[in-house]
Subunit: 397 residues, 2 copies
Amino acid sequence: MPNKILDDISHRRYNPLRGSWLLVSPHRTKRPWQGQQEGPGKIDLPEYDPKRCACWLNCLQCYLCPRNSRASGDTNPDYAHTFVFVNDYSAVKEEQADYAAESGSCDDLSSLLLRAEGVKGKCYVLTFAPKHHITLADMSAADTLPIIETWTRIYAAHLASTNPLSQVALGLGLVQQDAPPESVVPPPANQYRYMQIFENKGAAMGCSNPHPHCQVWTTSTLPEEPAAETVQMGKYRTEHDGRHLLADYVKLEMEKKERIVWHNDAFLVVCPWWAVWPFEVMIISKRHIRALVDFTEAERLQFAETLQEVTRRYDNLFETSFPYSSGIHQAPLEGTPEEIENSYFHMHFYPPLLRSATVRKFLVGYELMAEPQRDITPEQAAAKLRDCGGELYRKKL
Amino acid sequence: MPNKILDDISHRRYNPLRGSWLLVSPHRTKRPWQGQQEGPGKIDLPEYDPKRCACWLNCLQCYLCPRNSRASGDTNPDYAHTFVFVNDYSAVKEEQADYAAESGSCDDLSSLLLRAEGVKGKCYVLTFAPKHHITLADMSAADTLPIIETWTRIYAAHLASTNPLSQVALGLGLVQQDAPPESVVPPPANQYRYMQIFENKGAAMGCSNPHPHCQVWTTSTLPEEPAAETVQMGKYRTEHDGRHLLADYVKLEMEKKERIVWHNDAFLVVCPWWAVWPFEVMIISKRHIRALVDFTEAERLQFAETLQEVTRRYDNLFETSFPYSSGIHQAPLEGTPEEIENSYFHMHFYPPLLRSATVRKFLVGYELMAEPQRDITPEQAAAKLRDCGGELYRKKL
Ligand SMILES: O=P(O)(O)O[C@H]1O[C@H](CO)[C@@H](O)[C@H](O)[C@H]1O
Ligand SMILES: O=P(O)(O)O[C@H]1O[C@H](CO)[C@@H](O)[C@H](O)[C@H]1O
């Protein structure tokens, strides 16, 4: 008998061949689609019931614009900077039935080869600005600061009480009760293990709404990528007198220079030695910062400035609104004191474009079956991005 | 001083954060582009010098059609089934300068964090048929057989003499001297570690030429994915009385049935428990087959039949020419006797479509930063693919 509960609950599955896990969210197929369409049926504008939108652009029925209503029936406030709400089509949910492993006549093999575990969590959407048609590259560092502050508050609100960082959050006045907006309700004690902040920008990266926004997915499990990094960072510290892998890497790149795109006092922007995507960059904090709550006020502003530099240079490179997926890696919400201490704040940018606004790199057959493959070197990419500084190529919106 | 040789030679880089390697091929940026274009500049037909093509469709300057000429200046033969040649824009090459790790003032950190090694190899292109506008789904099992025979001969021609499978190849009359066509020249003894056969089909999967073809990349290194599988398969055998992971998996799925798409005497088509792509399938041999050279004649035909079933069902699912990347995993060309013996023949299909011919799944922000995420379950996908049997939905070309 198939275990029917897996049709209804979010869960992870273990791939014994790769030795890795993946997340399954069956209920998520119900979400609407506004993004890129492949092939012959490609349409440029999705069909909506025309309806005057509250934003000053009169965009049609955008569920992220101020004062518009969403699928849930809720109406967005008339917000000035950022706005957070629980995704109406979340990939993980706070409440669901528990999963018990399936049993049957083939017990031994099932428990070895059909492993699963339940995953609970919460998915937030966070808008960057009320304006529908702008991007991070159009914004000033001052406009970007509220985004970083909101990230910090959401992170603080979900920290497990056993996490040493929750004391830091408390000291900063970022206690759970404080956490704005109301939609960010702290979970039952220590329920969440990790918070992934990420942005999909542009149709090429599966973004289904151009209104500038990111997502924040919080799960009861530690996902594959941060888990792998956690292991590697821990190993490095153990083997190298307690030194941090990324601290050493910053030191090395500051000396080598050839992969540096830009830096300020607090952050380094580098095309990493091991980059996979053509113009992949990493933002790494220069000092050991474990998570957003460790930032000083000055660092928050310097991080805003860094985000501006990266996104503006990207847009300048091919004189286009550069697509990418980006994501922040930092300390888990719950973890051992070593895991927290080994964590080192950084942000990845994975952009697909290779040669122009229209020619992208495909990570397909060989990459999926054998090994990631890139064409230009990270050093060549860094040189190009170094040359793209200055004002945004187009008039800022 | 940057090590300039890395601008010119194919090499791998190690990501100490992920604990994984990737391949770098700087010279490859020179290859021409005919594939999908993103965004505003999208054009439907690439611009060519119009020139009558030798194929019966009069297609323009396809470098895979019989009797046409290629970038290298070579002219394709008037082939009847398959045709193999060395990729004019190979990602790896047989001859290149050797790489010696860079040294400098930061020696210790460089050797830890800027690791690289040279990669040699060879990239073949293999056409499936002389007709420009068909796909595997349009072909009969009998037409598909020559493809499998060619794969087998290329594989046999590159086997290290120390590989126990080279004796099998010899017994089958697949000795290196025999290996057709002439373009497949055996490498210096034991030079190659792995051969990856893969197909990118459709613009959505970065395919730059619709003429039915696959690629065969042979490298001096064991790539990440087969390496990970090799470790996992070896571990499983050690921990479970010498049983093969995939043999146990076939047994389990034949009993459970819910993830089976189709099977014949020799092969199982299954949506694996751990599938990432919406309609991902695996073809797994029912008996322990280490590599193509282990196939009996009957199995080659049954494999041809299996390829037909998969590609026809894919096309029937959304009544479209279904895009995918596929790839064969089998024994390495060179390896320990255990590695060869632990290998278990299988083929992966990773198709991006999710809900229709135009709506695909994007593996982007969360997937890249945290963990692969899928929407429908593999069981739901298998049920749909089971219902797609029978004749091809369109008239075969
Ligand atoms: O070799 P092709 O078909 O030109 O290129 C395609 O397949 C390669 C191997 O998966 C990828 O590296 C390329 O990005 C892709 O466009
Ligand atoms: O949540 P969205 O923006 O609708 O969806 C996008 O991002 C998600 C998280 O990376 C992906 O799972 C989806 O495939 C992608 O289209």
